[in-house]
Every structure is written in C-alpha cells, then in structure tokens.
Amino acid sequence: MNALLKFSDMIDGLNGLVGRYVKWLILAAVLVSAGNATSRYILNIASNAMLELQWYLFAAVFTLAAGYVLKVNEHVRIDVMSQRMSPRTRNWIDFWGFLLFVLPVTLYITLQSIPNLIETYQNQEVSANAGGLLRWPVRLMIPVGFGLLFIQALSELIKRWAYLKGLIEDPLAKGGHATVDMDDQKESV
C-alpha cells in the first residue's frame, strides 16, 4: 500500500507541476486574441496563424489541466444528495466510478487518438486556412491530456482505497463546487 501511495504522490506531483505552468497559456491566449483584434483594425494585418494560435493555447490549457483539476477535486459535482451521504459512501462511489468508467474511458480515448496523431505528423498536416498552423501539436494534446487524466484517475483510485482502509484523511473534504475563487476577499470580513 505504501508503495502505491508513493506512486500516487508522484502522479499528484506531476499533475501539480503541469497545473502550475499550463495556466500561463491563458494569459498568452488573452494577449494573442486581443492583439488579433487590435492589429486587424488598426494595422489592417490579419494572420490565420495567430487566429489559430488562440484556440491552440486554450485547447492546451483545458486538455493538459484536466488531470490537475481532478487532483484538486474541481471537476464539478452535483451535491444535492451526496452532501447527506457519509464520507465513506462518497469515497466508495468515486472508487467504483473511477475504476469502472474513468480509467477505461480515458485509456480508450488516449489510445484511440494516437493513430490520427501519427498520420497527421507523418503527413505534416497543415491547416486548410492560408498561413495556418501545423496540426500535429494540437492533436498531440488529446493523448497527452487524456493520458495525464488517466494517471490522475489512477492516483485518485489509490487515494480512495487508502481512505477506505483508514490510511489517509478524506481526499474529498475539499472542492467539488463551481466557485470563482474570491477567498482572500472573504478573509477580510
């Protein structure tokens, strides 16, 4: 069990690291998108590459961060009923859900997306828009993102099991809600 928990820690560390860096791409997307609108109307310059870059960046954020968001338990849940369940029941639900559904589905998507990626790479597929970008980097995001989600689901599975065995604190004590984080404001009251 200890070795498994160590493994789970390693995965958490990896996705934590991804989360720490990938968020900056949002700022990049903001700047690229605002720059596109400005340059189109002030300088009369439009670039398909830049137009595509903005969704490349956001696509990278939400695919790569999926594992990180799972780690911090921010994939939103509907808790009308579950808030009345015991922490053990909630962990059991997650345990079976991850084992039976999330792991197979994410693995399937990861593997299923690879042939496309290889073909796009070999053909050096380029966007149909004039001056558009190479396609394989954005195609790469699907297997990498879902791969990260797969290993995070594995880590969550280990943590649920460890909790049910009484080895660690409740991993579901935090998160699960759709909130825009305004915490420092709350503290000032």
């Binding site: 949002i26 903001v30 998108s33 903005q54 939400f62 961060a65 639900i93 825009v180 305004m182 009251v189």
Partner: protein, 490 residues
C-alpha cells in the same frame, strides 16, 4: 430484454440522473453513460460500437470552438476586475451622489450592479464586491435588512442577463445562434429589468421611506464639483471596458471572443494603473480560470460523448415525443421549459443546464419554429431568477459568504450593528424574484421586446458561423467532420 430494447433512451436518461445525483463528477457521469450505453446498445444490436471511434474527433472539434474561448477570457477578466477595486470606487461615488435622498444607496447599488454586469458578468464577483462595500454602509445607516440583501443579490444577478454575460455566450453556442444576436436580443429585456428595479426602489422610498433612509449629512463628505469629479473619474474605467467588450463587437471591430480578451487586457491595465496588480493576484486569477474553464470544457466533452450514444439509440426522438404530450403548443412548451430551467437552477449551475438540458430541448424548440433568440433570452431570465430563489439560489450563497452574521461594533458611528440573518437574505429576495417574474411574463407575452432589434436581416458574420454543438450526431453525420480544416472527415 425486449423491454430494455424498447426503452433504452429513457433508461439511459434515468441512468444519467442516477449518476449525477450520486455526486460523481458531472463530466465523467456524462462520458460514462455515453460509453456504457454504446456498449449496451451494441449488445442489443441497436448500434455499432465503432461509433465510439468518433470520440477523439469530437474532442478535437470542441478544441476548435472559438466562441467558448470567451469562458476563460471573461472569467479571468471578472477576477482581475474584482481585485482592481473598480467596484469600490463606483459604489463610493454613486453612494455619495444619490446618498442624500431616500433609497439613494439602493439606486447606487442597482446602477453599479448594471455597470459591473455590462463589463464582465460574473455574478459571484458582482455580489461579493458590492456586498463587501455597500452592505456595511447600509447596515450602519439602518436600511431594512431584507431590502438591503435583496438589492445586492438582485442587482448582482443582473450579470446573468446583461450582455456580455457568459450565460448568453454559452446558450448562444449550444442553441446555434450568433452571440451578437443573443446580445442584441437580451439588451432590451435587461434594460427593462434594470428599469423595474429602479422603479421599485422609487416606490419604496415614497411608501416606506424608513426602510431605505438617506445617508446623514456627515456621511456625505464630497460636495459640489468635488463630487462630480469623483463620479466622472469612477465612471471612466467601466465605460472604457464596456466599449472594449461590447462596443467593439457592435461596431464590428472584434468578435465576441476577442471582446472578452480586450476586456481582460483592459482590466489588467486598470489594475496596474491602480497599483493593485501583484504577481500573486495574476497567478491566483489564472489558476481559478484554469480550473473553471477546464471543468466546463470537460462537461462539454462528456456531454458530446453522451449525445453520441443518446442519438444513436434515438433518444432525440424520444425527447421530442415526450414534449409532444405537453398541451398548449408553443406557449405550453415555453412555460414548461421555463419551469424546468427554474427548478433545475436551484440545484445545478448554469453550465450543466446549458450543456446537458439545452442540447436536448433546443432541437424541439427549433422543430416548433420558435424564435431561438427569444427562447434563449427566456432561458437566461429563468436562470437569473433561479439564482435569486431561496433556499438554493447561488447569489444568496455569495451574499451569505460576505454578510456579517454576528452583531458588531460599527467603527464609524460606534453603535451596535446587528448581524444579518440568513432569513433576512431569503426574505429580501422575494420582491426581486417577483420583478424578474414580471419581466419574464412580459417577454413571453410581448416577444417583440426581444425581437424588435433583430428584424433587420441577420448579419452574416464569418466569425460566428462555426460548427456548433447540436447535441451530437449519429457518427456518420459528425457535425464537426465537415470542418474545412479537418482532414479527418468521414
């Protein structure tokens, strides 16, 4: 077995509800049911599970969606704006401007709420910043507590319906209409709600002035030209931001998505100018934005996997069939949908309503020949209303999180101020819910309130014609497969 074959769509739907209520993450519940029922359907000979091979292509289609880029942009902008202290300045000077008359602080809150809503439209940000700034002042000068609470939650919920709200963008995307049309259609109804709120305040100040007292003389420190200068300085940033996010769209400089990005840059510059921008603030805002937009996009990924199988087992036909039982034709349908959205809005956030419910009922509305912009605005108004409704309304939670619960010693007057009870927040919302209900009824009775502006032939804008989430296809007719830039069609 035959029972299963005949009723697979309702069973699939029931199973989804079971998963959702179990508290399992929404995105994974949707995806799990999609895959599970593709396998069951395959066993029953209803579909070929090869269908599932379309999933990576669908995810790729979602990645290409430009419209939904507005989600991170507006979320990021909302958080930065809240940190920039713009709302504080606005409330401060508006409070001074209107403070002298009964109900003055109320007008200030409503107008500032409308301005905040027109810049970014994140309800949490509006309610929390206004609650932090105005609530202590209102409590100090003995405003009727429920009225003070209702004002803040009511004005904060305006963010849902006043363009450029995220609700409108997301609904436009799932209902396949252009964001610009959604903005245009929502504009009058939104102004109407603001007008009703102001009118209510005015009536209250005449009938029950003791509930909404004016600020005492010594609390109004700014006078004459000093006051007007402070009002004008405070108004400048929101006006510039409104131009960046809305003006640029209407004059054709930017797409709605780019408007969001321009607004975010504007908010950053504002925060820098006011020396409120620290590295920590930016990092925190980016982190929150990443979390929110990732879970939203994954709900969309899950819902498109669900839709893939649901369509394949003829779930869409089942849904349409169900709706045909509702009496009253178009009106009956609209009332039923309103009620459904309103009730669901108590329990789940609007992203789930938009991505789970709308792809199912949108096509029904289309088949009934209902004006989709009007339909969209009705759904938006319903969502605002359910945000306000006790005991689960989200706006009420946000206010509760910043309203003082305990009695406290006021620092200005030195008097004892009683804490605000949750009951006060609930009670205060009622008149504002009624105002929303009135507006909603008017929009249903007079659809022209929405469509008046839209009569001109639709502006064909290349940026808004894109492949929309239509609730899925049957695999062979993949709605994203036809994307010109996609070499993987077929």
């Amino acid at each position: 077995m035959e029972f299963l074959t005949d009723n697979i769509a309702p069973i699939m739907f029931g199973s989804l509800i079971f998963f959702l209520l179990s508290g399992f993450p929404v995105a994974f519940s949707l995806a799990a049911n999609g895959i599970l029922f593709a396998l069951i359907g395959h066993e029953l000979g209803l579909l070929d599970w090869v269908l599932l091979q379309a999933i990576p292509e669908r995810i790729y289609g979602i990645m290409q969606n430009d419209t939904l880029l507005a989600i991170p942009f507006f979320t990021f902008m909302g958080i930065i704006l809240q940190r920039s202290g713009m709302a504080e300045d606005l409330l401060e000077s508006a409070g001074q401007l209107f403070g002298g008359v009964a109900g003055g602080l109320g007008y200030a809150v409503i107008l500032v709420g409308a301005l905040l809503a027109a810049t970014t439209g994140v309800v949490a940000a509006s309610v929390i910043s206004m609650g932090l700034i105005s609530l202590p002042v209102m409590m100090r000068y003995r405003y009727h507590y429920p009225t003070a609470a209702g004002l803040l939650t009511g004005a904060g919920s305006l963010a849902q319906i006043i363009p450029p709200s995220l609700v409108l963008i997301v609904l436009a995307d799932v209902l396949s209409v252009s964001v610009k049309d959604a903005y245009t259609g929502a504009l009058f109804p939104a102004l109407m709600v603001v007008g009703f709120l102001l009118l209510y305040m005015f009536v209250l100040s005449i009938l029950k002035p003791e509930m909404v007292p004016p600020l005492p003389e010594d609390a109004r420190t700014l006078k004459g030209s000093e006051l007007y200068i402070s009002v004008l300085t405070a108004m400048l940033p929101p006006i510039v931001l409104i131009f960046l996010v809305l003006g640029t769209i209407f004059i054709g400089w930017a797409t709605p998505t780019e408007g969001g990005a321009m607004g975010a840059v504007g908010a950053l510059l504002l925060a820098i100018a006011r020396r409120r921008l620290t590295w920590e603030v930016v990092k925190g805002a980016l982190d929150s934005t990443t979390k929110l937009s990732t879970f939203v996009m994954f709900i969309l990924v899950g819902s498109s996997i669900f839709a893939l199988s649901f369509r394949a087992v003829n779930g869409d036909i089942w849904i349409e069939h169900l709706f045909s039982f509702i009496p009253g034709g178009e009106l009956g349908f609209v009332l039923f949908v309103s009620l459904l959205v309103f009730v669901l809005g108590f329990f789940i956030d609007f992203f789930e309503i938009a991505f789970i419910l709308m792809p199912l009922i949108g096509p029904v509305a289309v088949s009934m020949d209902i004006n989709m912009i009007w339909f969209l605005v009705l759904v938006g108004l319903n969502m605002s209303m359910s945000f306000l409704t006790p005991p689960f309304g989200f706006a009420l939670f946000y206010l509760r999180s910043v309203a003082p619960k305990q009695d406290y010693q006021d620092e200005v007057t030195g008097g004892l101020v009683h804490g605000m009870k949750t009951q006060d927040i609930y009670k205060g919302a009622i008149p504002f819910i009624l105002i929303m209900l009135l507006s909603l009824s008017l929009v249903i009775i007079f659809p022209e309130i929405v469509t008046y502006n839209l009569d001109a032939p639709l502006d064909v804008d290349l940026d808004t014609i894109e492949i929309q989430l239509d609730g899925g296809g049957d695999g062979s007719d993949d709605p994203w497969g036809s994307e010109a830039s996609d070499p993987w069609a077929n």
